[in-house]
């Protein structure tokens, strides 16, 4: 199934915003990118492989369309994804 979906063109365009350490390591604050990842976790691992993010996914949180989300959440076309490093407000 997965292979079929992939072949059928599972690719989608999503927007990713970066903050704090991730912004520093990526070198930019926001980008639109094409991905075949089906969940936000897969997307993080894909980007981590590409940009060498030092933070493990288990030490950060993730937001999908400006709401906190599970790592297992599925990605859809035009989604906005934000990876959230450990916060330090206050």
């Amino acid at each position: 199934m997965e292979v079929l979906a992939h072949l059928a063109g599972n690719g989608k365009t999503v927007r990713v915003d970066y903050f704090a350490l991730l912004k520093e390591q990526r070198g930019l604050a926001s980008e639109k990118l094409q991905t075949n990842s089906s969940t936000v976790l897969e997307l993080y691992e894909e980007l981590q492989g590409r940009y060498g993010f030092s933070l493990k996914h288990s030490s950060i949180a993730v937001a999908l369309n400006d709401e906190f989300a599970d790592w297992s959440e599925k990605l859809s076309e035009s989604d906005k994804v934000v990876f959230i490093p450990p916060v330090a407000g206050g």
Binding site: L55, S59, A61, F68, G89, G90
Partner: protein
């Protein structure tokens, strides 16, 4: 209401928002930029916020604080560059009796520090900088459902 501000926080204006004739108690918390953190001399810092979610989560926390039977609660958090002694965050709470105002004010600032997507980069005396809490890759506590 929870809000972010790139300018100095107006403490008097914020306080006036919780003033009501039923209020017998007022508790305020202010976070100030210290000159040291974990043994290092801090010379300045910068706050960065994921604004859309920070405002949403901050307001959720203020609503949750209503469980303490308070009258009013507000919070402003700074963004941008701050100097030693600057106010980074202010929480104000009013209630009929004091116990509730203390509990609610402490609850609000604790939850903000745990859950609101705001990050702090410290600059040290030697010129180096560090994103607080990121260096050691601590497990985050903010509503992460991983």
């Amino acid at each position: 209401m929870f809000s972010l501000s790139s300018k100095p926080i107006d403490a008097d204006a914020l306080k006036s928002l919780v003033n009501t004739q039923q209020a017998g108690a007022y508790v305020a918390f202010e976070g100030w930029v210290r000159d040291h953190n974990e043994g290092r001399q801090v010379t300045g810092l910068e706050y960065e916020a994921y604004e859309a979610l920070a405002v949403k989560e901050g307001n959720k926390i203020l609503e949750e604080a209503q469980k303490f039977s308070i009258l009013k609660a507000h919070c402003v958090h700074r963004t941008g560059a701050l100097k030693i002694g600057d106010m980074a965050v202010m929480v104000v709470v009013s209630s009929a009796h004091r116990k509730e105002a203390f509990v609610a004010c402490e609850f609000i600032i604790n939850e903000i520090k745990k859950r609101v997507p705001i990050w702090k980069r410290e600059t040290y005396a030697d010129g180096s900088t560090s994103w607080v809490n990121c260096a050691h890759g601590h497990k985050t506590a903010h509503g992460a459902k991983s």
